[in-house]
């Protein structure tokens, strides 16, 4: 682990009178898995949206590899290698899985000419197949993605993100709506993605068992403010975190 890949400093964001994030500062360590927890409505997804450029922030700064990105647009940030998956799973529902994968390649150094480049080079296809096998969808690669089950769509979205070979992957509740048996497999795959492909992960998660297993550092948000940051053990035993979750206000 060599320093922070993403540095969030004093970020505030409000929608009308609702303060969704207030002076939040978080570091995402390079090569690690950082967790983000907090009760519903505590501003986790808003923070994700701010990082990927979905909306402008009111105050603060967000740096990726030392570069200020808080004023860049969504596709520009994505092309830097900072990718997110959605809480409401999003895939290209009328295309088959293989095509979903092929169009998810990185668009980092794409000139005008490559718009009409071939999509059928063996290397790209082999990598797509490898990743589909990795998430267990190899058999279904020619099925229309929208007809897969919700859990399978989540896995496909994850595979699409890996296809892009990002530096950082922001995962918004990767295990929501997935059955408990499959969750173990998913944790395993997330860890392998982190180790084998060297992708830094930043994960929002409600399932405590998952996040305590997965992350090496965890931050907790409540009412838009950063409550605590630390190792899973520290956060788990922090009385403020327990209080926020049990709602003992």
């Amino acid at each position: 682990m060599s320093g922070s890949l993403i540095e969030v400093r004093g970020v505030s964001k409000s929608f009308g009178g609702v303060v969704a994030n207030k002076e939040v500062s978080i570091d995402v360590a390079e090569g690690g898995i950082t967790g983000l927890i907090g009760p519903n409505g505590s501003g986790k997804t808003t923070l994700f949206n701010s990082i990927v450029g979905y909306h402008p922030i009111d105050e603060g700064s967000i740096k990726f590899k030392g570069q200020e990105i808080s004023r860049l647009r969504v596709p520009d940030i994505a092309r830097l290698g900072l990718l997110r998956t959605f809480q409401q799973t999003r895939i290209y529902s009328k295309m088959d899985c293989m095509k979903n994968m092929l169009i998810s390649v990185s668009h980092r150094d794409e000139g005008l000419g490559s718009m009409f480049g071939s999509m059928h080079d063996r290397e790209t296809e082999a990598f797509a197949e490898e990743l589909l096998e990795f998430v267990g969808l190899y058999q279904k690669r020619f099925l229309i993605a929208g007809e897969l089950s919700f859990g399978q769509q989540k896995l496909l979205e994850f595979a699409m993100a890996l296809m892009n070979r990002p530096k950082v992957l922001l995962l918004d509740e990767p295990t929501a709506g997935i059955n408990p048996t499959l969750i173990n497999g998913l944790i395993d795959r997330l860890k392998r993605a982190n180790e084998q492909f060297g992708i830094t992960l930043f994960v929002i998660e409600h399932n405590m068992r998952v996040i305590m297993n997965l992350a090496d550092r965890i931050s907790c948000l409540a009412h838009g403010e950063l409550l605590a940051t630390g190792t899973p053990d520290e956060v788990q035993n922090d009385p403020r975190v327990v209080e926020a979750y049990l709602g003992a206000h």
Binding site: V52, V74, P75, A78, R79, L83, R84, F86, R90, I91, Y92, S93, K94, M95, D96, K99, L102, I103, S104, S106, H107, R108, E110, L112, S114, M115, F116, G117, S118, M119, H120, E129, E130, E133, Y138, Q139, K140, R141, F142, L143, I144, M160, N164
Partner: protein, 352 residues
């Protein structure tokens, strides 16, 4: 692959029909010319409307712009355009055969280029609109362009322009325009089909399915969207140039910008055959044209009712169109299959 063979044989059928029908039944030549024009319109519309999901109701603007651009070029290489149009056809310019052909070919090329440039300029603004807003916006665009041309005296305003007369017999003239439209339609389909096989095809499909996701994945969405409008504009512009010459006289409302007829027909044809499929728009155009001509002949007075009924039934009960329906009905014919192998190396998962 068998899909490729099927495509090749379909091209064979189309080319054979395109050559044989006017030879065996010369009376149908002008009907067939219009058919090719409709095929071209439906196929090019489908790139933006079907494959990318941006339902344009204004592609007819490219048609008219191409037509006027070619008229200006064709007259302009011999005569002063403003004087020519100011005389309302009273000036008879005799074009030499050479001047005519140079003008025609230059005009067709120019028509395509001007329409493409127009799409390039207007595209980034229009394509920022989504869903129904884009449809209404483009409809407004077509109407506005038609109105602007009507008020522009340099190109004759509402009273139009008489096009250069074809040197030679009228019959051979209509054969020439027939061949031009036929070649353009086939060329448009071949080019567009080839483009769909590249990254471009996947990217515009991705934009159709979820544009926000496509942006979040880093796809250059604006670049793809504008190009997916420029390609139809190019072919529509050239088709407009040919059609203008074929008509002999052009004016803004009925010939150059027929928003309520061709402008709507191209959408209806693509929907009928199955939008977002490679052959659907061709099939739709052929069926639609046949129904249109048959009702014009045998149900005169009711032809608009019949066409309207087809469009309504199509949109209410049958949105996916003929080929779209076939694809839902027999998915395995279209490559939607479960692979028996569970892994890449091909070992069936026997143990567990």
């Amino acid at each position: 692959m068998s899909a490729q063979k099927l495509d090749l044989s379909l091209y064979g059928v189309l080319v054979a029909a395109g050559i044989l029908v006017p030879l065996l039944a010369p009376a149908f030549t002008s009907q067939m010319a219009i058919l090719w024009l409709m095929v071209l319109m439906a196929v090019t519309w489908d790139m933006t409307g079907g494959q990318m999901g941006y339902n344009s109701l204004g592609n007819i603007a490219f048609f008219g712009i191409g037509m006027y651009a070619s008229a200006v070029v064709q007259i302009g290489i011999v005569y002063d355009v403003a004087e020519y149009t100011a005389a309302f056809g009273a000036i008879k310019v005799d074009f030499t055969v050479e001047q005519y052909w140079t003008g025609l070919l230059l005009g067709i090329g120019f028509g395509g280029v001007v329409a493409t440039v127009f799409a390039l300029i207007i595209g980034p603004f229009m394509l920022g609109l989504r869903g129904p807003y884009f449809a209404i916006g483009t409809l407004g665009l077509a109407v506005a362009v038609a109105e602007l041309v009507s008020g522009w005296s340099y190109v004759g305003g509402g009273s139009g322009i008489s096009m250069p007369v074809f040197p030679g017999e009228a019959a051979s003239g209509s054969q020439v325009f027939y061949v031009l439209l036929f070649v353009l339609a086939i060329l448009a389909h071949v080019v567009i089909r080839a483009i769909y096989k590249t990254r471009f095809g996947l990217a515009i499909n991705a934009i159709r399915d979820d544009e926000d996701k496509a942006e979040a994945m880093g796809i250059h969405t604006t670049r793809y969207k504008v190009t997916a409008w420029m390609v139809p504009a190019f072919f529509m512009g050239m088709a407009g140039a040919v059609f203008g010459n074929m008509s002999g006289f052009i004016e803004p409302l009925e010939v150059a910008f027929p928003t309520a007829t061709f402008g709507i027909f191209m959408v209806a044809m693509a929907l009928l055959g199955g939008k977002g499929t490679v052959w659907g728009p061709v099939l739709g155009a052929i069926l639609f044209h046949i129904v249109k001509e048959v009702t014009w002949t045998h149900l005169l007075g009711w032809q608009w009712v019949a066409l309207g009924a087809i469009i309504i039934i199509n949109i209410v009960y049958f949105q996916q169109g003929i080929l779209g329906w076939a694809q839902d009905r027999w998915p395995s014919l279209f490559g939607v299959t479960v692979d028996e192998k569970t892994t890449r190396t091909g070992q069936a998962e026997a143990a567990k």
